[in-house]
């Protein structure tokens, strides 16, 4: 589904991603782990085309997408949710989801027909709202809902485009334990026709949803394997848990 080969990214002489290769299968849930500054978010920028790679290639669904810009990559079905909320402020949740859905279905070229009340769109907006548990808040302004709701909408905007590949950048960033459970459920109920790459700092969540885990450190892949293998791997403990007393809780903000 997604094949990354020898990907590198330099920023003015500083290498942020170094010779990174990995493959994600269709329907897989892949968790990206790594300490701060490991290059996780930069990897997402490279995958979505916001940043251009210095070298290497990215294939998606069998097509080389390395040369595509961000808009083109969104159109082939790569969606992304952000670590910091990046929503349509001053609009309602319904309008937010509508914008993402309308964009993904080419309705930006509808010059005469309204899209909010169109049947297909209505269904898609309501489906997405249900997926991210925002059905009751649909007609509230973004500014009127809680931070947790906004995190849900952040994922909802990506889901409303019906992506084939969903990149989630720390969906639970800054939310409380109750909301983490909500996200856990959300992730488990998402259909398997969506392939998911997720950067996640909550270890319980990460290990329970992951099919495989890729660990980055200083822009390099240092380990890849099942959650079981990752848990047992000494290098990962050493690097990721920082000197390792062996408990994941050492770097787990929310446990």
């Amino acid at each position: 589904m997604l094949e990354v080969k020898h990907l590198s990214k330099d920023f003015g002489g500083i290498t942020v991603i170094r010779d990174l290769s990995f493959t994600v299968n269709a329907g897989e849930r892949r968790v990206i782990l790594g300490p701060n500054g490991a290059g996780k978010t930069t990897l997402f920028h490279l995958l979505t085309g916001v940043e251009k790679a210095s070298s290497g290639s990215i294939s998606f669904a069998g097509k080389n997408i390395s040369k595509m810009n961000a808009v083109e990559r969104a159109r082939v079905g790569i969606a992304r949710s952000y670590q910091k909320n990046n929503l349509f402020e001053h609009l309602t949740i319904r309008e937010n989801l509508m914008l993402a859905a309308a964009a993904a279905t080419g309705k930006s070229r509808w010059f005469f027909r309204d899209v909010i009340n169109q049947a297909d769109m209505k269904t898609r907006i309501e489906e997405t709202a249900e997926q991210v548990a925002l059905t009751d808040q649909l007609d509230l302004m973004v500014s009127a809902v809680s931070y947790g709701n906004r995190r849900q909408l952040e994922v909802g905007l990506a889901l409303a485009t019906k992506p084939a590949l969903l990149l989630m950048d720390e969906p639970t960033s800054g939310v409380g334990p109750a909301m983490i459970d909500t996200f856990h459920q959300l992730l488990e109920t998402l259909p398997r026709d969506i392939t998911i790459l997720i950067i996640e700092h909550d270890m319980d969540l990460a290990f329970s949803i992951a099919d495989r885990i890729t660990v980055l450190n200083f822009g390099e892949k240092v380990f890849e394997g099942t959650p079981e293998d990752t848990r047992g791997n000494p290098t990962v403990r050493q690097i990721y848990l920082g000197g390792g007393d062996g408990t994941y809780g050492a770097t787990n903000d929310h446990a």
């Binding site: 808009v71 990046n86 001053h90 309008e95 914008l99 309308a102 964009a103 010059f111 309204d114 302004m141």
Partner: protein, 330 residues
């Protein structure tokens, strides 16, 4: 995001009704005022379309109007084409110019967009000002109005022309409202709200903004044809940047991002100007102070403020609140 609410529909009917009645029962002078209002209101709707809903605060709308007026007059006066095809070419010129401006400036925002549009507008102004073939700063005359004698009316009659202007204003409002309610208009509002996220969900925002400018240019072009046929004479004065500034004033005075607000603003400004000029030569000063006050009072404008009061009284979280102050600063 645009909604044609009942309040807006009622205001539209009242405004157009007022103009029609004022023209029908007023003097020749009143009819002149009505046509002046309709031209300004159309131009203000055009600006609200791109500034209020797309965040593109243009200072070249006077120039877009003027280009349409010039292209129309060149075709009909210099080349002798009938007035309807001439008008089509005039509109096309306006669409091409504003689309080009939109395309070139699509990657700029905030003050850079304002400056860039200002510069392109002045470029067009300077071009016509220096053009000897088109009369330079003296402008050119000999323009004819549309011939509607097949409808049994004489467009050279002040009342007929004023009512024609009101009808065109209604048409432009409807065009703008339909576009804003469409997928195209919704996405435009989305770009205004968060351009970066709109790109992330697959919209080429630069192209979209350029198209929105072109659509806005079509409306400004309509104002230009009407302006040329109104005075039967055009000069570079139409294109000067202060004209664009005055249109922005009208949009702010009435309520930016409300679409009907600019119509209200145009009525207020033109009436105020004419009333003031009966008493004083210095109406610019009053207009300037009104503008400063309108911005300091929160920037919602007359219609925008009333709408805000009415909506927040019923439910504070209604979706179509007029843009709050901070939203239009982008």
């Amino acid at each position: 995001m645009f909604y044609q609410t009942r309040l807006r529909t009622i205001t539209l009917i009242l405004a157009l009704g007022f103009l029609a009645v004022y023209a029908s029962f007023g003097s020749y002078f009143a009819r002149e005022i009505v046509i002046e209002i309709t031209i300004l209101a159309i131009l203000a709707i055009s600006l609200d379309f791109c500034a209020g809903f797309g965040g593109m605060v243009s200072l070249c709308h006077g120039a877009i109007m003027g280009i349409s007026a010039y292209a129309f007059s060149i075709m009909s006066v210099k080349l002798g084409l009938p007035s309807v095809p001439s008008a089509m070419i005039g509109l096309m010129a306006a669409v091409v110019f504003s689309g080009l401006v939109g395309w070139v400036t699509a990657r700029t925002s905030g003050i850079f967009f304002i400056m860039a549009t200002l510069a392109f507008g002045q470029m067009a102004y300077t071009f016509f000002f220096k053009s000897r073939w088109l009369g330079g700063d003296d402008g050119m005359g000999g323009i004819d109005r549309f011939n509607l004698s097949w409808l049994g009316v004489d467009m050279n009659d002040a009342l007929v022309f004023a009512l024609f202007g009101v009808a065109v204003l209604l048409l432009v409002y409807v065009i703008a409202a339909i576009l804003l309610r469409s997928g195209f208009g919704r996405i435009l509002s989305g770009i205004h709200s968060n351009e970066n996220r709109m790109q992330a969900v697959g919209i080429n925002t630069a192209n979209h903004k350029a198209m929105a400018m072109a659509a806005s240019g079509l409306m400004a072009g309509i104002a230009g044809i009407l302006a040329a046929q109104h005075t039967l004479y055009i000069s570079p004065e139409l294109l000067i940047w202060t004209v664009s500034g005055e249109v922005l004033l009208v949009v702010i005075l009435g309520g930016i991002g409300t679409l009907i607000g600019p119509v209200v603003g145009a009525i207020m400004l033109v009436m105020l100007k004419h009333e003031l000029s009966n008493y004083t030569d210095y109406w610019h000063m009053v207009v300037g102070m009104v503008l400063i006050f309108a911005v300091l009072a929160g920037g919602r404008g007359i219609f925008g403020q009333i709408e805000y009061w009415l909506i927040t009284r019923h439910s504070p979280k209604t979706p179509h609140l007029p843009p709050a102050k901070e939203k239009d600063l982008a």
